[in-house]
Symmetry: C2
Subunit: 159 residues, 2 copies
């Protein structure tokens, strides 16, 4: 990618983003083994670690930890959106409308909702995005509305 203004050649800056822009990721398929490995370390509850025990729980069968779905979402985001300086989130609002199950194939679709240059820091801005994590049937398993720190193009404000 060539550049006239000297910004780093890799990664989007605030000026490259537009409200309504959509980024679609590749996909990741989970199996029961991945679900249990993650859960044993970070969310050791029967509905995430044991198919049999999971049957008599709220989930009615093995389900991934929501934090596993969130981590896979991040992995898919990193490989589908290249922001100059990296993909840096300040936080967000997270919901899990449906469980992720063994065998699910997930991908994420991210839409730019708002772009706000920082007043105090002329070198950056905040971008609000909605990232929906979908299973193979097009059902949302996670909705994340997050705020990203995105740099402005170098020297842009002085051009």
């Amino acid at each position: 990618m060539e550049s006239k203004t000297g910004e780093p050649s890799e990664g989007l800056t605030l000026e490259d983003l537009a409200v309504g822009q959509v980024f679609v990721s590749g996909s990741h398929t989970l199996d029961a083994s991945q679900i249990k490995t993650f859960a044993r370390e970070f969310d050791p509850q029967p509905f995430h670690t044991d198919e049999e025990a999971a049957k008599n729980t709220f989930f009615g069968g093995l389900a991934a930890s929501g934090w596993h779905t969130a981590a896979i979402t991040m992995r898919l985001l990193v490989s589908s959106i290249s922001i100059s300086g990296g993909l840096i989130g300040a936080g967000g609002d997270l919901s899990w409308p449906r469980a992720t199950r063994p065998g699910d194939t997930l991908h994420v679709e991210t839409e730019v909702l708002e772009i706000r240059p920082s007043r105090s820091r002329p070198d950056r801005g905040m971008v609000t995005v909605r990232t929906v994590t979908l299973n193979q049937e097009g059902q949302a398993v996670q909705i994340l509305v997050s705020r990203l720190v995105v740099p402005r193009r170098q020297g842009y404000s002085h051009d």
Copy 2:
């Protein structure tokens, strides 16, 4: 734990919780190796995977993925709050006011903010809690306000 009403002997129900109640977890210490292992799988960006490369980034040095901090928080929650039927979150609002660094010792403090019995499902309710993840200096590295699904005591509404 003895019980006169026949509820499961392990785990709290909606009736056991009160607004203002606080749960404090044990602690977990992270090292650079844990930070890099998690990041290689779920958030492969230089500031999470490489001390040297991290120096010239937003973080100014190696930092844990926010999703790693979130996952450790869940682990600490599972071992500090025992809810009947398990700790089941429907989502929440998440922020990372400060990075988690190699060597940090984290613990979580959770306060009950709101308790709302379900109108449509008399066997359960929603409980809003604020979980603050603190480092060894008492600084918040994550604030999570989440909604938990909590069962009511068996037969409680018919007593």
